[in-house]
Symmetry: none
Subunit: 191 residues, 4 copies
């Protein structure tokens, strides 16, 4: 009987890939390097992923799912919308800062031609819970009635760009700036 695929290898490959993209960007990503970093042979990669493109697509979805799950980790259905929203925003801000490479990867590839349309569709589905949160609040008249995807784009775009600023200047947000950043976001959607 043939050996079974070793499920522990996939995360190893993801980690290796990310680590290399972080170091030198996608342009310099070589499959042989991924294999070496993941401590396996080149050929082994092709047992788990059809090719480089599939690896990138799967990694993208894996990370996007992971990040969105993390955002909801502290969610509590008893919370008011404001508290829910602040928790989500804080999670997004904090995770982006802490796991910037992963976030940058997600963002850089989101609109890139390296992703298949299938991946893009799946990616949109993952965002649905965030949209629903906004829609519900709009129905309850708690925030402005602006199409939810537009509103979500505004919020996430604004927040990630601020995170980029801190990463890029190698500085860290003070509690005051953290609070101000949230204020801007909240002001932009509140009634």
């Amino acid at each position: 009987m043939a050996r079974l695929k070793d499920p522990s290898k996939i995360p190893l490959i993801y980690e290796a890939t990310l680590s290399l993209i972080l170091k030198s960007g996608y342009t310099d990503l070589r499959m042989a390097d991924v294999a070496r970093e993941a401590e396996m042979a080149t050929g082994t990669l092709y047992i788990y992923f059809k090719n480089k493109e599939e690896l990138i697509n799967k990694l993208f979805l894996y990370l996007k799912e992971e990040k969105i799950s993390q955002m909801f980790e502290n969610a509590d259905s008893d919370d008011s919308f404001f508290i829910s929203f602040k928790k989500l925003w804080t999670a997004y801000f904090t995770i982006s800062l802490k796991e910037y490479p992963k976030m940058l990867f997600i963002e850089q590839y989101a609109y890139s031609s390296l992703l298949s349309s299938e991946t893009k569709t799946k990616s949109d589905e993952l965002v649905a819970p965030l949209l629903n949160t906004l829609v519900k609040a709009q129905e309850e008249d708690l925030i402005l009635k602006i199409p939810a995807p537009i509103m979500l784009s505004h919020i996430m775009g604004a927040t990630l760009e601020i995170v980029k600023y801190f990463i890029n200047t190698s500085t860290h947000p003070s509690p005051e700036i953290f609070e101000q950043s949230f204020q801007m976001t909240w002001n932009s959607i509140r009634k």
Copy 2:
């Protein structure tokens, strides 16, 4: 006397490069294709640019400068801050939408390892006029006192992400949504 370097060739090369990156992304950018698109020989590219990397760096600065100039084109020193700000925001929104590929190029490369630190420094200098606009308004107590780079990141990140949404869904913003988008931004910084 020999021919002089033909200064009209540089914009031709920029246009060709952009057009190709737009079609297929940087990963697939081949110098031979740039040359063909610009209707010159491969070797000619290397008279005007040391190598592919320099071409990308110079193109980045060229576009960034062009875009920021365009943003200030309608500026009028007699305008109130609100009018000034709305003009700038409108220009940013409109240009991003109309010249999305250029904007995406600027954004995708801004933090990429393909750009030299020298290019990054020069790039920051180009943004200074935008920061000054905010700082002056803060000194006149017209908007929130939040560090200008943070505020600017918030504004531009939010706006570009909304533009991406329209591009990605192949839709166009209605006047109403345009106005709502501005409102969110304005609300986020107003006193």
Copy 3:
């Protein structure tokens, strides 16, 4: 288990390289041609040699070693010095004539900038046995007491140049000329 590196490939590459240098010289040596001649893919060359330069350096040492081994093949420790010397000289003359391209390759590259200093050092070591032969004879007062490297240069330079003459005129040495050539050499060092 994967295929092991195939040790038979290295001599194949050496032979192919030599054969091409023989035909058209180093200047026209293209790696793609080496690969075709050795009946393998271009990339395979780079598994066995880091680059063209390393291939040339390794080939040089391989040939130098081979040639010097061949010179000693008929050596017999019971021979008198004169017999030993004549055997060595004859071998050098004969091999140079028969395998002129290899000898020319060795000679042309010996002082060229294509060889690393490491290769040059190793090359010198290979010559040591020849020097020792002369030194011993000098100690036994059988030949002139002239620094061995000078004497060896004299002998080998003279002999190879004669070989070049025959190659260049597409003629062959008569037994008489062979004997005369040896006489000149022997006369130059005898007591």
Copy 4:
């Protein structure tokens, strides 16, 4: 009326070419570099030489002629053969040592495929005076009766190889070694 070709440019080009070959070898010789070193435009080279190959061929003959002239500079028809021979040998040894790059160039290219057969023929003609010197001495029964081209090859090959040794070890021949080197050569041809 058109300007005349400037005859002073040819030696300038020769010097520039030699100087570059000396630095980095023929493989790295680029016409643009020759032009820069000779302080003229690339195109100008092509006014004086049809192409790179012609430049190399002409340079070869120029140098070979120069070197052989220099060898005969001290010649005196009243000298005995031994004195004549010693003067010639000394000149060859000294010039080779002092102008090693030029000598190496001559030697390296003498049998190379870069030289046309026409150049090779002309080159042989330049050597005739040296052959004649030997033939005359043989007719007068002053040296061994061995075919002159063989004898000349022996002499020049031996001598140049000794020079190479000194260049290669960055050492200089003592008067004693100089004398010993001559002795070996003289012994090899004397009656």
